[in-house]
């Protein structure tokens, strides 16, 4: 009896989740269909789930006129994501190790310092001055990931994994003469692997999706990421359509083609959409492990 009830419930859950998933998929399906439609049909008849007048023209056009930029944008995105993820995981786990290391007197102070930035920040202007005038991150590759190296939330997440590793292991290693370096690299990192994968994924997603750093720090087109190219295009369209441009008289720039917008969206989302199904189990497992302290 009890089993049957569960089954109905599970069926209901599945239906609910499927419906929800469908709702989430709708905009994406529209974008894909839009990118495969012909411009004139799209303008005349609007969006639909099946491409209107199926054609690859938009992609042909995009790769014809902008191929170099798009490929380059991808390259920069990949490099920034890879470098950013590697560096930030290193910094984050090291910090997490420090604030969980038993016997380190100031660990609470360090924990507080990090926590403090979660509550208060200096604001955009000081941040911008710091990045451009002191660290000279403007128009550098480092500027695309360096300011995001330590995400305090993920640092605490990782600290929780580290806390779940029995202290006795660390102690026995130390008795054998292992220093902090050895403990960190040989014990903590391998044992905190699940957490490591989780925060890496979070970081990778963050770096991949980021357009704020290039917006603020980059003016050299050679350093544009694919996301920033996308943002650039959309922001121009929105601004011109919003009517703010009326303040500057006479700006009547025809917005880029509707289908091109959609094609660009698909191109940006594609890598993540392909990777995500394979990686998402780490998200789930990682978060669950972190939340249950051993």
């Amino acid at each position: 009896m009890a089993i049957r009830e569960n089954k109905t419930l599970i069926v209901l859950f599945y239906i609910g989740i499927s419906l929800f998933a469908l709702v989430c998929l709708v905009p994406f399906a529209l974008a894909v269909a839009g990118s495969l439609s012909t411009e004139s049909k799209l303008a005349a008849e609007g969006y639909s789930f099946l491409p209107r007048g199926f054609t690859f023209d938009t992609y042909r056009f995009m790769f014809g006129s902008k191929a170099e930029q798009i490929v380059h944008g991808y390259l920069i995105s990949v490099v920034a994501t890879a470098l950013g993820t590697a560096c930030s995981v290193l910094v984050t786990t090291a910090y997490a190790y420090v604030i969980t290391a038993k016997g380190f007197r100031f660990r609470n102070h360090f924990a507080f310092l990090a926590y403090f930035t979660m509550l208060f920040s200096g604001g955009t202007l000081p941040w911008y001055i710091l990045c451009t005038k002191y660290y000279h991150l403007d128009d550098t590759l480092a500027g695309l990931f360096l300011p995001y190296l330590l995400n305090v939330f993920l640092m605490y997440l990782q600290a929780n994994y580290f806390k779940s590793i029995p202290h006795e292991i660390v102690e026995s290693a130390q008795m054998d003469g292992a220093g902090h370096m050895l403990v960190f690299f040989r014990i903590m990192l391998p044992l905190g692997q699940v957490g490591l994968v989780t925060i890496s994924l979070f970081y990778a997603l963050q770096f991949w999706n980021d357009f704020y750093l290039p917006l603020m720090l980059v003016s050299d087109e050679k350093l544009f990421t694919i996301q920033y190219m996308m943002y650039y295009m959309m922001s121009n369209i929105q601004y011109l359509a919003s009517g703010n441009s009326a303040q500057i008289s006479g700006v009547t720039v025809a917005p880029p083609l509707e289908t091109a917008k959609m094609a660009m969206t698909c191109l940006t989302v594609l890598p993540i959409a392909i990777l995500y199904p394979f990686l998402q189990r780490y998200f789930v497992r990682g978060i669950i492990v972190g939340s249950v302290k051993g």
């Binding site: 002191y134 980059v218 087109e221 601004y239």
Partner: protein
Amino acid sequence: MNKTRAGISLALAAMTLLSACGNGGGNNDGGEAKGSGPASSPAASGAAGENAGGKLKPEKLKIVLYGDESNRMKELAKTEFNDIVKKEINAEIEFQFLPWTEYGGGKTDLMLSTGEDFATYTDTNYMVKSVAKGLYADLTPYMDGPAAADMKKTVDDNSFKAFQLNGKQYAVPVGNKPNSGEFYSALVRQDLLEEAGMQSVSSLAELEQFYDKVHAAHPELIGFAGTDARRMLMYEYTDKNLYWQNDFLAVDESAKDDKIISWFETPEFKAYAQIMRDWYKKDIIPKYAATNTPQLTSDWNSGKAMFWSGTAARPFEGAAAISQAVPTAKLENDFLSRDLPKISRGTYSTAWFVSANSPDPERYVLFFNLLQKNQELYDLFAYGIKDKDYTLDENGRLARLTTDSLVPDWLLMNKNFMRFDKTVSEDFIQKYKAWDDDAIISKTAGFNFDNAPVKNEETKINGVFSEFLVPIASGFVDYDAYFPKALDKLKAAGFDKYMAEYQKQFSAWYAAKNG
């Protein structure tokens, strides 16, 4: 003691890490883009030695523009543009493009606040705000000298006055084009009009008749491709010649006084709101306009709308986009009445400012001057290299060989220099050039409101405007049912104080001007 030491070592460690990485990246990529300030390249002086610019010491200028940078612009910026600027004023020029959202705020503000050396364009609102913070360089000393001599001839004098505050020139106008009656005409699809058996529209009744006829034949088209028709319809609901200062305030240009009119509280607004309500009910304004205004612009550009509010240049500016979708499309400006003079705010497109920290604002002024100096330079910056980017036929008509835009042509547009392509009729060009002939300069031209004393009120009433007043003004909701509440909200937000401050400043300025 230990705590302090720990803190210091932490800070040092962080700084070493960050600066090390920062410099490392800087050496690899784009290091040259950072160059600013008086630092100059020794290479420049030799090359420009014999030319006019040779007397000046070499300088670097950074011009920020908004929108997309085309490939051709990138090429030219490094080659011909740079060469000519170096030759003429001995400066190296760098163009930096930003997304439009950063205009008048965002990154532009950050760059100004951090004291970067650059110049870009502005409008009077942004100018007043920024000058109050001391972010713009005072360009007055260079205005009467040789630096600005050429553009003083090609740009209207009133345009210069529009960007003065307390007698000081904070921005240099660019562009000189017929601007009067902006949005006061109905820009109609002449091809549809003729299809409906009409020649022109000269009243609201005719405009609606136009809609009805075309709607019967083409039900898929929308009527009005906007949500704001107060200017276009003004001739219908009032005898005054209203000229709006912003969304709330207007003046009557036919009256010789300094009275500021609270637009929403006038009977005219009520009459206007009722016309718009009718339009909305009749679907002249489509239902989705309430939630998706940008769609209206797209509709217009893809030839799916019958009329829009017009400007002098829109018939040929807009034709390019529409004719892609509808090759037979023709655009024409019709006024719903002709017996009131058109009002002009000045003939400028926009104006350049220079950041306060610039070590050499004069060189920027020289560059702005260069942009509007003569036909040759204008052609270069707006259209590119002859026979490579464009050709001219025997009548001087322009055919562009590339679609890449250079220095945006809406910005430079100067009626002394601008060229038309051969699809624009001679008639139209004559009409266009004479567009401003019966126009008068607004009595408010040159007045810039300082919003500092009523900043809070302004923010609040703007909120009320978009939440409560736009729906009424665009006909989405009924005036009688919703206006009293909206007015209460407006008053509660401090509108009276705002209005009083505006009136006070304007009266003082008006008295000084006419006194």
